[in-house]
Subunit: 315 residues, 2 copies
């Protein structure tokens, strides 16, 4: 069930509409609605999250609410067409939703991509939910990636990382500022000590290279029996705490950090551009046609390519 | 027992003298001696390997023989002083041996460092054996690292990697040439499938950053009982095959590869220099004084710093 892990650059996660939120017992409804309301637009289809189990859905909603509250004023309204905001394959066995919004003038945000994908597979269902916040070249602070990939009710792959924008071997100060001083590895260690948690490694070596040395890339496997409850407990407990802590660190440090004069902006832009194009090649072009048919996939990929190409405002 | 994993840049491994080799039943005696003989110098103390279990010692000897046969004509004689070639702490509970040789004119080798460290610890003994071949700036091909760290008779940490010289995210062609086309990940996968093998993660996030996405960084743990035999079987079986295959790949590709005109040599030299200085700071300066007393450690570190500073011949 494992995606290529730049699976990263495609998939879902967003605040669900108030009715769904209420049904799942989530207490962040008011915040979610406030953020949306301030943008004068209704929740997009990506916010529905119809297939995720309650614990994942609630965590996704809370994380999205945190990020949207933090970035809210910086984000422009979505211009994603309706047949990309929500889509399915001809047989109806695969569904998906994507939303992309760009950062406004004076924002450090290039774009925020939220998505979810659901499809039937021989062993049940595959659900991928992704949040990606790509910053622009006005800052060299890390991008944010959070992704859930679930292929069975009792297991879950989680990718959560502040993706470095620079070669950290050549820039130990960068590593120190964003990864060491923030004590990010502590969060990874807490999770890795659970007996159900194993490291997860993408099949793409380029995707592996993108991640920071403190990345959380784990496969949480609670067995083949009735351990769905155990997985939910882990998600509502340690995972919830760790995800929020890391996203808070990113919001605190990364959205405000500006470029120092020493940064080579050409390399920064080239590096970001490579990450985007390789992600499309490795993840989307390799997987979406199989899940949604080539016709549907090409529509989705075209929209994402357009978003990725969008001029880096780099104020 | 785990070292910092740029533990990497300090420790041992070399062909033992003929008597020891014969006692351990190793069949590479003649090759080893041939290489040494061609350099008109007797085996240095690092070649003794008095503390390693037979299976590790034999593998180390074979690997060193392969590397020395491959690089032989490129290497200059050692100039390491006798009190660094072999040393111990005042109480005699810790012993070590290091040898460093530089590459000659027209060589792609900057230096080869071989070392072993042994010290008593509360749970028994710690043995670290290292081979590091650092290339010079006449090529951007990866450096070679192989390290065994053993803190109990039934467990072993292995680091084996072609250490990238460039930011692989910015240079996907580099990743493709040295890591993808060589199918290096296949070797890692074979080892990772053994039930005794777990991923190993250095406590230093800088050390983690140095490794390639196909690095073998594993903790082989065969339990607390009488599973010493099992560990030896793994070392003589899969580990032996995998280590040799990877070192062969490195010898084939890396020592011959020359720089393309597009490479920024200033960045290459700066990056290599940072790796060296951070390795000394993270690994040697943090650990050697505790193992050998500050006085002995300072002598060793001074010699290694001199070797690291040695002018990059970058022909």
């Amino acid at each position: 069930m494992s995606s290529t892990a730049v699976g990263c650059l495609l998939s879902p996660l967003l605040p669900r509409p108030s009715s769904t939120v209420a049904a799942a017992g989530c207490n962040c409804k008011s915040r979610s609605i406030r953020v949306r309301a301030s943008m004068s637009s209704p929740p997009p289809p990506v916010a529905e999250f119809p297939y995720l189990p309650p614990a994942q859905r609630e965590l996704m909603v809370e994380i999205l609410s945190m990020v949207e509250t933090g970035l809210g004023p910086q984000l422009l309204p979505s211009t994603v067409p309706s047949d990309v905001l929500s889509f399915q394959n001809p047989s109806g066995s695969a569904h998906g939703a994507i939303d992309i919004r760009h950062g406004g003038r004076d924002s450090t945000v290039n774009f925020i991509l939220e998505s979810w994908l659901h499809c039937q597979i021989p062993t049940g269902a595959l659900n991928i939910a992704t949040l990606l916040v790509f910053l622009n070249s006005s800052t060299d602070a890390p991008h944010l990636l959070m992704e859930f990939m679930q292929g069975s009710p009792t297991s879950l792959v989680l990718l959560l990382d502040l993706i470095p924008r620079k070669d950290v071997v050549l820039h130990p100060d960068y590593l120190d500022e964003f990864y060491h001083q923030t004590d990010l590895d502590k969060q990874r260690q807490v999770l890795s000590k659970l007996p159900q948690v194993q490291p997860y490694m993408s099949s793409s070596i380029y995707a592996r290279s993108l991640l920071s040395p403190t990345a959380i890339a784990v496969d949480i496997n609670c067995g083949d029996g009735k351990e769905q409850t155990l997985l939910e407990e882990i998600i509502r407990g340690k995972l919830n705490m760790i995800c929020k802590e890391i996203v808070q660190i990113w919001l605190r440090l990364c959205v405000k950090t500006r470029l120092s004069s020493e940064v080579d902006q050409d390399i920064l832009v080239k590096r970001d551009s490579l990450i985007k194009s390789k992600a499309i090649e490795i993840d989307l072009e390799a997987n979406l046609p199989r899940m949604f048919t080539p016709k549907v996939a090409s529509r989705i990929i075209r929209e994402i390519k357009e978003a990725y190409k969008c001029i880096d405002s780099g104020n």
